[in-house]
Amino acid sequence: MSATSARPSHAAQPSGSAFILKKALISAAVALVLFSLMIGVRTEAGPQGGLIYWTRFGDLAALVGTVFGGSIIIELLRQWWGPVDKDRIVPKPVQSAMSFAGRWLAPALLVFAFLVPVIFYNQRYILDLSILVLTYVMLGWGLNVVVGLAGLLDLGYVAFYAVGAYSYALLATNFGLSFWVCLPLAGILAAFWGVLLGFPVLRLRGDYLAIVTLAFGEIIRLVIINWQSLTGGPNGVSGIPRPTMFGIPLTPGDDGLAAKLGIEFSPTHRIVFLFYLILAMALLTNWVTIRLRRLPIGRAWEALREDEVACRALGINVTTTKLTAFATGAMFGGFAGAFFATRQGFISPESFTFQESALVLAIVVLGGMGSQLGVALAALTMIGGFELFRGFDQYRMLVFGIAMVLLMIWRPRGLIGHRAPTVFLERNQAISSDLVKEGHG
């Protein structure tokens, strides 16, 4: 062990200006090939219907130059930072500060989350944003079961979000069922679709699984668009009832909550209610996931991610394990979808594009697969950051993309790549040294 680890691990990594230059040139060449058609030549339909085109070599040169320069900068940053997996010696005070922060970050965030409506009561924008962030936290935690724990790459998670949203919307508008009746139904329906997706993809892993789930997401969206008689097609479903506080509507009328409590009505009440609703739902997701991780089924999910063959050899039923992972993740997606529908009051297929799946997946990956706190932080960063970069206007996506690339270079395992064990020995027995000396273990 010690003999191999003593060998300097970064010796194989070349450095020096020649290497940096070579790498930058390759990147620039790739960019040239890619962009020569995308940027260099622009085509348009001419006045006679014929195709006209003109060249933009100036823009092309600028882009290739940017890639060249950017590649050099990234490589320099990389070398300054050192190899990604290297053990860095952190000074003691910083270490203890970090472990202190690590221990108190989650409770602090939770307390802060509970206080958000109190602190920002008069700032509707922040409240709306917080609700959005929490929706994505919940979606992230739901997808985390499938991707982070069971290791099944799901690119079609938005399908379950859509199933949940449409379940609530249709049940509520057609049959007048209340939100609290529909919520479990939406979860059950989404879980059912999760199992339905699970069956054909049982034998697939990795890239192949990703492609099928991607297709599944699109199928659900296309069905919603085309099944006009049921879903209203592209027009969506409108007039979805708002949630009630266990039967008491949050309206200005006489039977509204404000009137019953004898306080003045404010539309903010509803927003605050929605905030606590999604907070509770997200926390429920988190709690269930944490509980499941400690049970054999959660352990089996993680083992499945690690090694499917070994799981089989240990007598784990791989089929049911995969299906429960799909169903559990889908169920939380369905809950979140129902919430989304009741919050918006209107849903249409446009809200359930691949972009949503990609965003939720990015949250899970950035957060560090399997880490609950990491996912919450990533959702906050992604959704919050998205709003923060609003000032950059059209460059928002660009800035955002660069930020994500940098994060993945420096924290390839996500914000929180650490995995907490779930099994502990009951008693911490000391092991006598004569048991563990060489030649006996």
Partner: protein, 249 residues
């Protein structure tokens, strides 16, 4: 052993054929393992040793022949149910769960079997008594263990299901001779103290045959030789093929 041989064998493989696609890996294999025995299965690379072990476990399925365990036909039983019949295996290449802790890896071994908390605790104690090194490393991630420790973990994990038959695929693969000897010692202890029946698949013929009561030699998907461990060790063809010239014992 004479007492055990009088009764029906714990595991009987009769005329089993198995194939990967069109390539037939087992061409009619017969082996028997009696309760309380250590049986070694030796042979060169690609002889079909690992396939036989996997076929007993139902993956790949036997295309012909029968596999009987404890008087019950398990030829068509799903893999995860076979494991519940208290047959455990430590697969080739160890295949521990690298990101899970040692304790979690061991738990995984017991999860599929219905056993009480007390039995689980007893199982852990038993594994730690056999491999104290694992106890030392209990909170560590599996992937950070050394090769020998990972092999101990793979065997320990298999033992957590309290098996009657333990099947080990190349337990000495890639291990230093000293560590390999520790592993073989542990297997002998398990057999002597707990009466555990062991099927051991090995390329390291010398070690395996010295350990085993009986051995089978496999060539190209067929059993070509069988006998007691010491008998096989004396056979000139065995010495030529597996002991001299190639790897030392």
């Amino acid at each position: 052993m004479s007492a055990a041989q009088a009764t029906t064998p714990l595991l009987a493989v009769r005329g089993v054929r198995a194939a990967y696609g069109k390539i037939e890996a087992l061409k009619g294999v017969d082996i028997e393992i009696n309760a309380g025995e250590i049986v070694a299965l030796i042979g060169a690379n690609g002889a079909g040793k690992s396939t036989l072990m996997m076929t007993i476990f139902g993956r790949p399925r036997a295309r012909a022949g029968t596999i009987e365990y404890d008087g019950q036909d398990i030829t068509g039983v799903p893999t995860h149910e076979i494991a519940r019949l208290r047959i455990a295996q430590s697969p080739e290449g160890r295949r521990i769960f690298p990101r899970m802790s040692v304790a979690e890896n061991l738990q995984m071994g017991a999860d599929a079997t219905e056993c009480s908390e007390a039995e689980r605790e007893a199982g852990l104690e038993r594994v730690f008594a056999l491999f104290p090194r694992l106890k030392e490393r209990v909170a560590q991630r599996g992937g950070t263990l050394s090769g020998g420790e990972q092999q101990m973990l793979a065997i320990g994990r298999a033992l957590m299901s309290r098996p009657r038959l333990l099947m080990l695929d190349e337990p000495s693969l890639g291990l230093a001779p000293l560590i390999a000897r520790q592993i073989f010692d542990a297997i002998r202890t398990l057999n002597r103290q707990d009466g555990l029946t062991v099927l051991i698949v090995e390329q390291n013929a010398n070690h395996a045959l010295k350990l085993a009561h009986r051995g089978y030699v496999m060539v190209n998907g067929l059993i070509t030789l069988t006998g007691t461990g010491s008998e096989l060790l004396q056979r000139p063809e065995i010495r030529a093929a597996y002991l001299e010239g190639g790897r030392h014992g």
